[in-house]
């Protein structure tokens, strides 16, 4: 039995860590994790409303198994320790492969020692082959009696870019995870400026509800736009009447309401309840019509019903109800410190992968002697055609 020296052990570990098999296995592991997230709805974190909706849907779909599945972490796969460990291993492998790529790119500047079994290539003229290879952007190195053809530096460079890009991408994701945050389901009405919870950053919607302004460093995305109103009421003498959205709310003379769903408010002094809802059978947009229904309470009888578009004034008994159009936007705000690193990583990864598809790894050697040409390595089909025939 031959004793393995520490140097051999390190070499073997390096070989395993940089092997194609290991990285393929890690990628498969990540793919299984992602496939699980497609199959099982994942817990939303940034939006309490979305969380409540998700919970009721999950309970309806999985029934009594929901708590068990939750305990097993099946609804938080990408946030689980196992998935993160997998990504950490992937990053480690990529780093080692990047180092190896750099070393290989440097070493491959010069001609390598021919490897593999030599085969006689019939019907091959060496000078024609050399011309053909150079025409196909192969690099041809000569050290008589051998010729080496490969695609240096493009093959090595593509691999370097792909590994470097993937590593940058993971680094960007780590930065995002550590210091980034995201607020979802934020409702902002036009002309309003909202400070994001737990931060000093703000977002504001311009008067026409088309443009969102925000503090520097964050990215906002409008998920949907919808109508909204600023309501006020006055009696026959022009005296403003207090309005209340809930029984516990303090009475106010002006209410600003986003109409993402049905909304109600009361005018207690006039014993009126007003229901506001986006007009059914209309696409919901910033300036879509609003259905206004006014009920007498008690007894809960419908007094009037009308659809309004833009600013409007309604008179019900002695009360004048003024409704000004204040559209709203439902948006998400993201602070991502790893944005540029992730973006650069993505671009490098895509360019590197496309490069490695266009210029796959290929290196072979040719030798002329005894009036015949022989070759070894990853020989192109065009050279071996005669032999296969």
């Amino acid at each position: 039995m031959i004793a393995q020296t520490p140097r051999d052990r390190w070499r073997a570990t390096w070989r395993v860590a940089t092997s194609d098999g290991l990285i393929a296995a890690l990628l498969l592991g990540v793919a299984v994790g992602l496939a699980t997230t497609v199959w099982l709805p994942q817990t939303p974190v940034a939006d309490p409303v979305a969380y409540a909706r998700w919970l009721s849907e999950a309970q309806a779909r999985f029934g009594t198994a929901t708590p068990t599945m939750q305990t097993l972490g099946l609804f938080t796969v990408t946030r689980s320790l196992g998935f993160r460990v997998l990504l950490a291993f992937l990053a480690g492998c990529l780093l080692l492969r990047l180092i190896e790529d750099g070393d290989r790119l440097w070493r491959n500047r010069e001609m390598a020692k021919p490897a593999g079994e030599w085969q006689i290539l019939t019907g091959v003229c060496l000078s024609d082959v050399m011309d053909n290879l150079r025409h196909r952007h192969y690099r041809v190195l000569s050290a008589p009696p051998f010729l080496q053809a490969d695609r240096w530096p493009w093959t090595g460079l593509s691999s370097l870019l792909a590994h470097g890009g993937a590593l940058l991408l993971l680094a960007g994701l780590l930065l995002t995870h550590l210091w980034g945050w995201r607020v979802e389901g934020l409702i902002v009405q036009s002309g309003e400026r909202v400070t994001l919870p737990g931060t000093e950053k703000w977002v504001a919607l311009e008067d026409d509800a088309r443009r969102v302004a925000h503090s520097p460093g964050i990215v906002t995305f409008v998920e949907e736009r919808g109508p909204g109103v600023r309501a006020s009421a006055a009696d026959s003498t022009g005296h403003p009447l207090p309005l209340q959205q809930t029984a516990e709310a303090d009475p106010v003379t002006q209410l600003t309401i986003a109409l993402s769903e049905d909304q109600y408010f009361a005018i207690p002094e006039a014993q009126l309840i007003v229901r506001l809802t986006p007009q059914p059978d209309h696409t919901i947009e910033a300036h879509s019509p609003v259905l206004v229904q006014v009920y007498r309470s008690p007894p809960g009888r419908l007094v009037t019903e009308t659809a309004v578009e833009g600013d409007a004034e309604l008179t019900v008994a002695d009360v004048t109800l003024e409704l000004a159009s204040v559209p709203h936007a439902r948006l998400s705000a993201t602070f991502n410190p790893g944005l540029w690193i992730t973006g650069a990583g993505l671009v490098l990864l895509v360019v590197g992968l496309l490069g490695s598809i266009a210029w796959p790894m290929r290196r072979f050697w040719l030798r002329e002697g005894n009036e015949e040409v022989s070759g070894t390595g990853n020989l192109p089909r065009v050279l071996t055609r005669g032999r296969e025939a």
Binding site: G21, A24, L27, L28, L34, P380
Partner: protein
């Protein structure tokens, strides 16, 4: 809709004939069989393309999955210009994905349009996804053909060449799609990942395909199995995209 059904039906028939020829060729030497197979492939691909174009142009009664399946089948059925000689089982495996997709398309064509999921593809991205699915179906045929082939000593000349072009093209397009989507998300929403089913599915398929692409050359079938899995997932995803 009748014209679409007729075209897809004719394509199914010609592909079945191709399967029959491939099986016949497996039992006895038939001269000129590969030429007949190629002609049948062109015919079936042509029928499917005409059917898909007719459906796309104005047949709103056709469900979106049927259109996607027919388009994918058309891409999978068209033969290669420079086809490498294969065994009869290899030829059979090459036809099989196109035949199954065409049958599935025919089945969905007869479904009422209300049962159809989504809407017909109009955006460039959707079209790219379907083309990717079609190339994936071709790659599936190649991979199945490799799995079905009897074990043989490693070929001289490595694995690069015409045999793998559908797989390479599908992987390149998939890389562009996944990378492009991630970049757009990053630019618009500040996050690479918004967690939609289509997006997660494409990323998952891309990862499996990458694993197949990187998998060791030996054993040869490991690569083919991984690409088969990735292509099957891709086709299922595209049909319901």
């Amino acid at each position: 809709m009748l014209a679409v059904v007729i075209c897809t039906g004719l394509a199914c028939g010609t592909l079945l004939a191709a399967v029959g020829l491939a099986l016949w060729g497996g039992f006895r030497q038939v001269p000129g069989l590969s030429h007949a197979m190629r002609a049948i492939g062109w015919l079936a691909g042509g029928f499917l393309l005409i059917g898909a174009l007719l459906a796309w142009q104005g047949d709103h009664g056709l469900s979106a999955p049927a259109l996607r399946l027919t388009l994918m089948a058309a891409l999978a059925a068209l033969p290669e210009i420079h086809r490498h000689p294969r065994s009869s089982w290899g030829n059979l495996m090459l036809i099989l994905p196109a035949l199954i997709l065409a049958w599935a398309g025919l089945f969905w064509t007869s479904e009422p349009s209300g049962a159809g999921m989504g809407s017909p593809p109009v955006a460039l991205v959707e079209l790219a996804v379907i083309i990717c699915g079609g190339l994936g179906a071709r790659a599936l045929g190649e991979a199945l053909s490799e799995i079905a082939a009897l074990p043989s000593p490693p070929k001289v000349g490595g694995t690069e060449g015409g045999l793998e072009w559908p797989s390479a093209a599908a992987y390149a397009l998939l890389t562009l799609l996944v990378g492009g989507t991630a970049l757009v998300n990053l630019w618009q929403r500040g996050t690479m990942w918004i967690g939609t089913t289509g997006e997660g599915g494409l990323a998952g398929v891309w990862l499996v395909w990458s694993a197949g692409w990187l998998a060791p050359r030996q054993p040869l079938r490991l690569r083919a199995v991984l690409i088969t899995v990735a292509a099957l997932l891709l086709i299922a995803l595209v049909a319901g995209y």
